[in-house]
Structures are given as C-alpha cells and as structure tokens.
Subunit: 149 residues, 2 copies
C-alpha cells in the first residue's frame, strides 16, 4: 500500500495541534519525512475533499477546514485512497463462458468482500483526527516540541 493515507493523517494530526496557525508545506514535509511538493499534492487532495484550506503568500500555509473532532480517518481514507472506482476488483471476466461465469463470479466476490471493506470503513469512521492527536500527545514526552513545531 502507498503512503498517502499515513502521510495525510500525519499532516492532519499536525494541523490539529496548530489549529488557527497556518503551517507551511516545508514544515509539514519535514515532520512527515517527505518533500514539500508531495505534501502540497496531498494537501490539494485534502482540500478538494473539504478537509483543509490553504493560504497563499508570505505567512501562508494550510489549516484544518473544520474541527479535528469532525474529521474521521474514513474521511481521510476516502479522500486520498478511494479515488479508484472499486477497491476489490477482479481484473477481467471470462468472455468465453456460456453462462457469463466471470461476471457472476465478480458479483459474488464483491458480495463477499463487501462486508470486509464495510467493517474496515466502520472502524475508520470511529476514529477522528482529534483521537490521533490525543494519542500522539500521550506518547510524546512532556515538553517535547516535536508535534507543535
């Protein structure tokens, strides 16, 4: 799996700490261990999903578009990962079968995988960015400036 979900959550958790204060892509990239442009690309996606908004120019940066308690990991997952139409998709069907076995098999598989995906979504929906930030604060040593810049 790619790193976008994790990095996006990282970014949002960071922003939750500095809410009201714009954070530059350079700072976010440094914290997430990646390149500023990678952050800006991700932020672009998050902005389209309505999770953050950005300010251009000097002193600009990115902020949360709504309280961290109102952003679930499912929101993040949908924004950065679920652009593809079908998460579990059979590559191809069998055009030779008289009974269209390939199509039926695909439908059946989707019916079987569906509940698994739904279970994952439910679990992700139960966790907010605020939860992540909270958990993060507990794990960080006291007085550590890491999470707040």
């Amino acid at each position: 799996m790619n790193t976008r979900f994790a990095v996006a959550t990282h970014i949002l958790a960071y922003l939750a700490h500095t809410q009201g204060q714009p954070v530059s892509s350079e700072v976010l990239a440094s914290s997430a261990g990646t390149h500023p442009v990678v952050v800006r690309r991700l932020v672009s996606t998050l902005r389209e999903a309505g999770l953050v908004h950005s300010q251009r120019g000097a002193g600009g940066g990115t902020l949360l578009a709504r309280p961290a308690t109102d952003i679930s990991l499912l929101d993040v997952f949908r924004a950065v990962q679920e652009t593809e139409p079908d998460l579990f998709q059979l590559g191809s069907t069998n055009p030779n079968s008289h009974c269209d076995l390939g199509r039926v098999m695909q439908e059946t598989l989707e019916g079987m995988f569906g509940p698994a995906i739904e279970a994952m979504r439910t679990a992700l929906a139960a966790v907010s960015v605020a939860h992540v930030t909270q958990e993060l604060a507990q794990r960080l040593p006291k007085g550590c400036p890491g999470a707040t810049g």
Copy 2:
C-alpha cells in the same frame, strides 16, 4: 489493488466445485480470464500456504488441500496479500526531530489503523470458500456448466 486476492478466490471456488478432480492451470486460467502461468504462480503461493496441492504430469492439476469449509477468505488474503510486513506503513520517519516524532507518529498511526485492519480480518475470517461456492451456485442459472468446467 491488485487482482491476486480475487483471482485466488476464483480459483479456490472453482476447485471446490471439482473437488477430488485435478484441474489444470489452463482451465483455471480460462475461467478466471488470465494466463496459465499467472494461475501457476498464484497456485504456487496457495500451495506454500497449505491451501492446495498439485499433481504434475499428464492428467495432473490442482486440488484443494482441505475441505472448502475449512478455508476462509482470511486464509486466502494472508496467503496472497499479506506477504509484506506491514500493510499500513508510514513511508519514512523524521530523523531530525528531537523527540523522534516520526517514530511516535508511526506507532500512533499503527495503533489507530490496527483496529480497522482487524475488523476487515474478522469479516474475511467469517466467510469460507464453501460460502463463495454456495453463493456462486445460487447466482448461476440452473444446468449451467460454467462453474464446473
């Protein structure tokens, strides 16, 4: 996502229909709409996981290694998809942070994603290959030879 999970389930569901009768990679490939070598590669993985076994030579093919009721979709998922160490992994940590924020963030994210993955595993564990075959039989028109070759 790649097609291995779906194709592997396709293969196993097919074998559940013809249990006791070896099925060649060519037949399986035709049913799944892929290439025989792709099937053999997948079967190789499934064999390592103890889900199937194969017979070489003329009249050979692949059979289920145990009853279809004893093979869950979680078994399949683990066999073909979870070869990588970590499903959700943050690409890199932040070596510059005084507090090792990157590492803490990664631990936190894993703690948050874990339940989601576990929920998906639980859902997959609840479905057996026999269930898939059963569902498939219900969806196929009566007397259709598709699923049994």
